[in-house]
Symmetry: C2
Subunit: 173 residues, 2 copies
DNA sequence: GTTCCAATTGGAC
DNA sequence: GGTCCAATTGGAA
């Protein structure tokens, strides 16, 4: 089914469904695709996994990377230097997730021994990030995953450090 | 200087030096080179870094891998399956180092926080191992290094576990 | 009993 | 303050 066959569509809802399916097919074919927020809501496409959606709405346009329609902050995305896969991966993580999410989740959700973090980073978004970096930097997925592990760890540590030193220091006024 | 020029050699020691240099050049060009123990001693070639040398003498023929004349147990080397780089790296480590060395050293010698291990694995031998696996398995050095880190860690843990459980259990006779 | 992966931590830059 | 690497540890396979 490479396109939309008019002969098989009878109702408006069928047509809408077919259009949405066709849109998803096309987006899977595109490496990245700029989709302004307004346009996406007008055509009625709900993000498949939109739990950490608010931060992109608050901070400007977003673009779609990968076949899972993962959204990334456009300004941050366009500033990424793809010459170094580790820096690119870290920057892309910052463009997709907010700091709080990066600090409280891990790649798989396993092994929450010390922090009170709950679950794992959205696997669909992670897949899109990995595919993007793999294509742009020509590097294996396993190495990208190690960078993601480190990024979560470093972000959590940074946040812990700030909590420990900034909160008490506000007392000395 | 692709060969040995007779015109420039005057004394026997010069000739011997030239022969040794030429041998090293040739060995650098060879992927691996079987050198029985006896032959090596007859021609007077001392290993460049021969501190953990005894275990190979005690357990059969050895072969030379890499440009640093690193020796590996021949039987273990020839049993290596190069289809999986991680298993190949681990097996090659077992063919070059004894268990005690693997358990007490680390890749760089850094961070001996818990065990009483002294230093690092011989960097020249490590280089030869990395070059060998890289060539045979077409995998990057960074991944091979991670396997070496894990192998030392796993070996140390295994030895600790055995010490803790085997030693006391011999009392019950 | 070993291998493999992920999380965590220390420390250097 | 973030990035990077290595060592360590837990746990699954």
């Amino acid at each position: 089914m490479p396109g939309i066959s008019r002969a098989t569509q009878t109702t408006a809802s069928d047509l809408l469904l077919a259009v949405q399916l066709r849109l998803e097919q096309l987006q899977k074919l595109l490496p990245e695709c700029k989709v302004p927020q307004a346009e996406a809501t007008v055509v009625g496409i709900e993000p498949k996994h939109g739990n950490s959606f608010l931060w992109h709405e608050a901070s400007g346009n977003s673009i779609v990377i990968g076949g899972n329609q993962t959204r990334a902050n456009q300004a941050l995305y366009e500033a990424i230097n793809w010459d170094c896969y580790s820096l690119a991966t870290r920057a892309l993580l910052d463009a997709v997730f907010d700091k709080e999410t990066l600090a409280s989740r891990t790649l798989t959700g396993r092994g929450r021994r010390r922090n009170g973090g709950s679950g794992q980073l959205d696997p669909l978004k992670v897949d899109d990030i990995i595919e993007t970096v793999k294509r742009k930097c020509q590097v294996s997925a396993i190495l990208i995953r190690k960078i993601i592990i480190n990024k979560c760890s470093d972000t959590a540590r940074s946040k812990r450090f700030k909590r420990a030193h900034n909160a008490p220091s506000r007392r000395h006024n």
